[in-house]
């Protein structure tokens, strides 16, 4: 293609509903009158060649079936009567003829034309039924997943539920467009059977921009559904906890609550992978509805002390979950969900032991579960939620103070 020809190529947003034959024909004719002559139909755009404005007749016809797989016979046949083949899109092909050529109308028998779209209607019906079945399966699976999930609020904060909701919306949109295309073709066929010809001058403007808006919205939604797992994968950081307890990681540190100089870090070879000590590590995760989120685990040992039950050298450990949310409204529900998740009756050491809410002006919500050497604390302050599980003999108040300090520094 020479430069001059390239300059004359114009792209225009095409009507979204490919099955609205009359609107397409009318659009091509209107643009031809403005000097834009159709060359090719793309997914979203149609390519035109700029030339002399000309009154043209455009007709969209069904691409032939297996008896004429390349459509060559149809092209040759129509050409004899003055109709030039332009391009093909999906199951349709476009023909044109200048007004002054007085080419005979392509279809003169509506009932016969109805036969030409019979196969298309059947294909669209089967596709729609298949799409509906798939969408129904996905929707049922998603809902089951929500019901089975023991931490639905956390799932929401992480972005999983929102991603699934977007996905369902996109799938419902696909199902609706599929149903609409099937119904439109069925209606067209019935109209033709009843003798109503296609309106070659059907108005196209309003609908074109409306459906484009909807298509763009759902394309963005579909893109966002992909974005959430990408962010989750790329923005997650895992590392060994620094020995310095004054580091900026907003979790409760073992040394802070043990307050014993003899405490050493307990590192086991089996737990060191890819230079990360999984006995003493933290993970910072990207969550859609949180500013930051940290999960840490720390194990220590005091070689000169043993557990009270004589089971071995005293080795306290702590795990800590901390989420700094975007919305305060989710903080207490998340705390309560963690309590019911981590504090399930079967997980508690002794029957009858439950989380007990405590009043503390430093927190909006504070709940503590204590038993022999195990301590679980869930605390909320504004948008910050922390859940600490600790095994050891440190004083409960030490842990609560450490949580308050961590919240203050976040």
């Amino acid at each position: 293609m020479c430069k001059n020809e390239k300059r004359n190529v114009v792209y225009r947003l095409r009507p979204d509903e490919y099955y609205r034959i009359g609107e397409h024909e009318s659009w091509f004719m209107d643009l031809a009158e403005r000097g834009l002559h159709l060359e090719k139909m793309g997914v979203r755009f149609a390519r035109f060649q700029r030339g002399e404005p000309k009154k043209m007749q455009y007709r969209v016809d069904l691409f032939p079936g297996i008896e004429d797989p390349l459509g060559q016979q149809q092209k040759d046949f129509y050409k004899q009567y003055g109709w030039e083949y332009v391009t093909k899109y999906g199951k349709f092909c476009v023909y044109r003829s200048p007004n002054d050529a007085n080419a005979p109308e392509l279809h003169t028998d509506m009932e016969e034309q109805a036969y030409t779209i019979k196969e298309l209607e059947k294909t669209l019906r089967n596709t729609t039924l298949f799409v509906l079945l798939m969408v129904a399966l996905i929707v049922v699976m998603t809902f089951l997943n929500w019901f089975v999930s023991k931490t639905p609020i956390l799932h929401l904060i992480e972005g999983g539920s929102i991603q699934q909701a977007f996905l369902i919306l996109v799938e419902v949109y696909i199902a609706i467009t599929s149903i609409l295309s099937w119904f439109a073709i069925r209606r067209l066929r019935n109209d033709l059977k009843a003798g109503y010809p296609i309106n070659h001058h059907a108005p196209w403007k309003k609908r074109k921009y409306f459906t484009f808006g909807i298509a763009v919205t759902f394309t963005v939604l579909a893109f966002m559904t992909c974005l959430i797992p990408i962010m989750q994968m790329t923005q997650t950081k895992e590392a060994t906890l620094p020995l310095d307890i004054e580091s900026k990681i907003p979790v409760v540190r073992l040394a802070e609550i043990e307050q014993d100089e003899r405490l050493e870090r307990l590192t086991e070879e089996n737990f060191v992978k890819s230079a990360v000590d999984f006995n003493n590590n933290y993970e910072s995760k990207w969550m859609l509805l949180a500013k930051s989120s940290f999960e840490s685990r720390e194990c220590g040992i005091i070689n000169t002390e043993i557990w009270k039950d004589g089971s071995g050298v005293y080795s306290p450990s702590i795990t800590c979950d901390m989420i700094n949310l975007h919305f305060k409204i989710l903080a207490v529900p998340l705390a309560k969900e963690w309590i019911s998740y981590y504090g399930r009756p079967e997980e508690l050491a002794y029957e009858g032991e439950r989380f007990v809410n405590q009043e503390d002006e430093r927190f909006d919500f504070l709940s503590v579960h204590e038993s022999d050497a195990s301590l679980q604390i869930c605390a909320v302050k504004e948008k910050k939620v922390m859940f600490v599980r600790y095994y050891g003999y440190a004083d409960t108040q030490n842990v609560i103070n450490a949580i308050a300090k961590s919240f203050k520094n976040t």
Partner: protein
């Protein structure tokens, strides 16, 4: 669904009538206009569609195909179907003969 008897479309009927004399696609259009005494002007889309459909239903067949020009002819099954349709249309006319006396 293949043709299983019953009313034909106008296009089917006229193409079958025109093909009582083998003819090729391009000339068929004028042949149809001729046998309908100028009443029916069949479009190329309609003609292309009806030829393909009737060939599939074995009502017509290709008697000659030199690549550029295809000559179609009516088959025995096509003749039987056309005769039946003719009888049916004739019966329709006879049954409605009273309409001649209706004042518009």
């Amino acid at each position: 669904m293949p043709y299983a008897g019953g009313p034909m479309t106008e296009a089917m009927y006229y193409v079958l009538v025109a093909l009582l004399n083998p003819n090729h696609g391009y000339q068929l259009m004028s042949a149809v206009t001729e046998v309908s005494k100028g009443r029916v002007h069949m479009g190329p889309g309609t003609l292309y569609g009806v030829l393909g459909r009737m060939q599939k239903d074995e009502l017509i067949s290709l008697s000659d195909d030199d690549g550029r020009r295809k000559t179609y002819t009516i088959t025995e099954a096509g003749k039987v179907a056309l005769k039946r349709e003719y009888e049916r249309l004739k019966a329709l006319i006879e049954d409605g003969v009273e309409i001649e006396n209706v004042q518009e």
